[in-house]
Symmetry: C2
Subunit: 177 residues, 2 copies
């Protein structure tokens, strides 16, 4: 990503966090992670993240999605005999989130996905999260999500985050900054 | 506690959550836990809690303290060979929190503690949390905290909560609703 694009995404992230009335320290603001997951199409696919805490037991972060931005389909597989894979709870704080998980395909889903990305989406059971709504994704469960027209701020509570172990459906994806 | 006192604490809790711009579902509002920890002095000692998620891996909740309310000194001891005790991260969202942990005694601490409670406080190393500040308490670490003059809203991210295993310094305390 170009530095200009990263700075622009950070500024829009701060504006959404301001709307959600979520306060960050100056250091946290500097450390906002912007990722396009290696696809070079941040407008459609990507994520902005503020990690509050990630230790060997639990993790908490804020995820910010720009309007209609997609976090593409992935799962958190078993790591070893003691860790069956990351489990995570999404709690919408601001905006709207269209979340897709395994289950009956929802007729007329609300997500709007560019054709180039649609081929890498398998699960279409829709969960709509408004502010105050939450949903827990089981370990190894495929999921993806898209923000509504105004973007979204989502708190994630989870077991330890090991992003590098995530398995994305789209083979082009690399979980890099 | 009298039902009237519980309802009053719930109403004040909702008002503080409103100020912090934290949205709850109607069910979550109904389920707000008000505890005086069995001491019968909610004005000085107690806690209001909204549990978002508590599973066998992680826990997330909002804690609300009324003005100058104290969560008394306690620790989260080792549970078994696989669980070394609850670890928790406090993140202040609104108001001010005076948090006390093991370490050098802070001269002129900001907490105001009634005499009847002071005898059960051993740790006096002060951490002041303003909105956006956070602090992680290690397993088995003694700690207690008091809200500032306007109350406080604190997000807690942690390993699994097992309140009934908490060890309070004050032997009169029972962790009951």
């Amino acid at each position: 990503m170009k530095p200009k694009d990263i700075e622009n995404a950070k500024a829009r992230t701060l504006e959404l966090l301001r709307k959600a009335r979520i306060l960050l320290t100056p250091l946290e603001k500097d450390n906002i992670e912007v990722t396009d997951l290696g696809l070079g199409d941040l407008r459609h696919v990507g994520l902005q993240v503020v990690v509050y805490e990630n230790n060997d037991r639990y993790c908490a972060k804020e995820m910010v999605l720009l309007p209609r931005q997609i976090c593409p389909e992935h799962k958190h597989p078993r790591i070893n005999h003691r860790n069956i894979g990351k489990q995570e709870t999404f709690r919408c704080r601001w905006g709207k989130v269209y979340l897709y998980v395994a289950g009956d395909r929802t007729p007329r889903p609300q997500a709007r996905v560019p054709k180039t990305h649609k081929r890498y989406l398998n699960v279409w059971h829709e969960i709509i999260l408004h502010p105050g709504d939450q949903y827990t994704i089981p370990p190894s469960g495929l999921h993806w999500f898209q923000a509504g027209d105004k973007g979204a701020v989502v708190s994630e509570f989870s077991s330890t985050s090991t992003d590098e172990r995530d398995v994305f459906t789209d083979p082009r994806i690399r979980r890099v900054k």
